[in-house]
């Protein structure tokens, strides 16, 4: 098992973890199992909130804030906008499949994934190499640490992702444009004859 550098692993931590874990799992199950997409979106909010709590628990306060603001506040809201816009809040048939046994197969695959990840996680993977990006603890406030690392070591990815965001915006605009119908020849002719004396 992993030997962590956890300073204090006390009872409040365990309780917090337990509650947050329950929230997360319940929310995930809700996303998958609810038939109404609006309900799934709300369950997703629950999950993301739980994840944010776990972030705080692990001394990643900045990320928790960003998670709540960006993910929960923007992304899921966007999801809900689209759901409302397109009117897909009706129920769907969850049980019809493209080929028989797909759900069963999916379940089996999911189980395999779970087992694999757990097994992988129980191995000792650390290499012992010194950190690249810099130490995390005892460096000051979390925001400062992340900020420093972001603007020095990871400057290029930072700039590139800003460009990525611009591209995404443009793409969204282009993709959701309505295409106007060009008038047919008949309509065109009709209009010109109308205009002539």
């Amino acid at each position: 098992m992993m030997s962590g550098l956890v300073a204090s692993a006390t009872l409040p931590d365990s309780i917090t973890f337990a509650i947050a874990a329950v929230i997360v799992v319940l929310g995930a199950l809700g996303v998958v199992l609810y038939r109404n997409p609006v309900h799934s979106a709300l369950m997703l909010v629950m999950t993301l909130f739980g994840i944010a709590v776990l972030f705080v628990e692990q001394d990643a306060q900045f990320l928790a804030a960003v998670q709540v603001i960006v993910y929960t506040g923007a992304v899921v809201v966007l999801f809900l906008f689209v759901i409302m816009l397109l009117g897909v809040d009706r129920k769907e048939a969850v049980f019809a499949d493209t080929f028989k046994g797909q759900r069963l197969f999916a379940g089996v695959v999911g189980l395999c994934v779970l087992v694999e990840i757990i097994v992988l996680g129980s191995r000792n993977w650390t290499t012992g190499a010194p950190s690249v990006a810099g130490a995390m603890k005892n460096q000051g406030a979390n925001v400062n640490v992340i900020g420093k690392s972001l603007f020095t070591t990871y400057l290029l990815p930072f700039e590139v992702t800003s460009a990525l965001l611009v591209v995404a915006v443009i793409a969204a605009v282009v993709l959701s444009r309505r295409h106007e119908e060009r008038p047919t020849e008949f309509e065109d002719e009709q209009r010109t004859t109308e205009l002539m004396p």
């Binding site: 493209t98 080929f99 797909q102 197969f105 999916a106 695959v109 395999c112 994934v113 694999e116 992988l120």
Partner: protein
Amino acid sequence: MIHAAFLIPLFPLVGFLILAPFGRRIGNPIAGWIATLMVLASFVVTVLVFAGVAGEPVASRLHVENWFTWLNSGQLSIGVGIQVDPLSLTMAMFITGISTLIHCYSVGYMKLDEQFSKFFVYLNLFVFSMLMLVLGENLVITFLGWEGVGVCSYFLIAFWFTRPSAASAGKKAMIYNRVGDGGFLLALFLLIDKLHSLTFTTIFSHLSQLSPTDLTAVSLLLFVGAVGKSAQLPLFPWLADAMEGPTPVSALIHAATMVTAGVYLMCRVNPILHLVPNAGHLIAWIGVATAFIAATIGCAQTDIKKVLAYSTVSQLGYMFLAVGCGAYDAAIFLMLTHAFYKALLFLASGSVIHAMDDEQDIKNMGALRRAMPLTSATFFIGWLSIAGIPPFSGFWAKGDVLSNAWVVSPALWAVGAVTAILTAYYMGRQYLLVFLGEPRWKKAGAGSLHPHDASWQMSMPLVVLAVLASFGGLINLPFGPHLTFLESWLAPVVGSGLLHNTDSTLQLWMFGVADAVFAIGGATIALSLWRNVVNRPALEPQFLFMAWFLDASIDRFIARPSSALALFSARVVDRQVIDGAVNGVAGLFKVSAGRLRRLQTGYVRTYALVIISGLVIMVAYFMIRSGL
């Protein structure tokens, strides 16, 4: 003068090169005279070279001229050049001499033919190839000449190619020759493997390096080549069919020169044959068997040229009998005299055929002696020669062969003797049916025919050949070493004849008398049977007429199974097996592609499922490999 020997094959080659592109424009008859002149020039040069060589001491009569090296491969080096020695000069002389006479004859014979110049193109090419064959200094040049004469023979047999029988006869000759050539080539390969050289002088000086098996193999394989080219058992049916060609072709190629190439080859490699007498015995028996069988077939033929064709096969058999017994000079002697009288007989037949307006069946001729006296007289001389009646040349030559055969085995002599009787008999039958008796052609409604002797171009060669046939025996009379000119001339190349060991005069006289008796006996039998009777079915059975059914059996046992095999290969093996395999591979791809394409369902979720499954499997694999 010896260094001018290169001119000997050069003149006919020049003739070929001039006539091939321009012959048609030069026209009839100048093209013919150009060709004749070239061969005549070659003959003159040969005589001059002969004079030069004859003036030299005996020991130094071998000259090898190497013009250039053709190919070099490892230890093997093949050059192009000629070897001037008594044997090759003898062959060259009679080849060029008789060719000149036949060229002259052809100018008259082919006068009315549209393809006049083409005939002479082929004839000159033939003479060139034949000369390279006999003059070549190594086996490769000999083989090239061998093939060259085969090709020209094909061209000339199928000269009137619009006749299906002529075209197929040309093919048949080519195919039978090729069978023999297979043996020749195998012998060459064997020699290359063992001795790394094909030059005659080199081979003969290194024979001790070959084991007896090798020697026997080489000699028998070369003999296979000779069997094909010289129409011996069992490869002789092509010669009878070759009579489809014009008569000068039959005279030149299938009597005097090409068919003797096999005999020349065996004489040339006599050092090998000396070392393996058993191979020699086999050759002798095959030769004498061929002679006998061909003679019996000749007794039943009705086409004037076919009788002569089988007679050629028979006489060639005698030559191989001599070769097998080690009497090479006797073989050459017989070759020379045979060339004279056989060419004579063929050319005379050609005159008869011309006069009878292309009628070739002797049952429809008769009493031509009055109408064509010169032709009849020369044919008569030819008959006497081939029958072996003294003092004509055939008597001396055949006697030489038979007396040498007795020394090796009396059984050989006996078969040869019986054949001699038959020879005299069937040639007599032919003479009687053609030139004596009743003029049957008049009754057959061809009363408009006026047979007469031919023009001087055709009659002059007949006279010359008749003289040669009469007096040709003088070059090798057996009455003493000072009279055997041919034998001593050829001695440096072929060794001496066998008979010198048992050189008793009484034996000579006994053989001579016996030969004369056989000849005269056969002639008498013919006279008594055929003088006034045209049809004797009992003496002309179907078995003999169809050449012992040899052709039919080859067709049934070799040709038909081969055709069946070829058809099988084309229909089954090619179409079903090979095409099936190739198409099957393509079909396999098509089918598997069709099945595999169903993986692309187009459904995103299925793709996602497959992706994740793949990921799971890969991770599991790596986990297991690194040891859980």
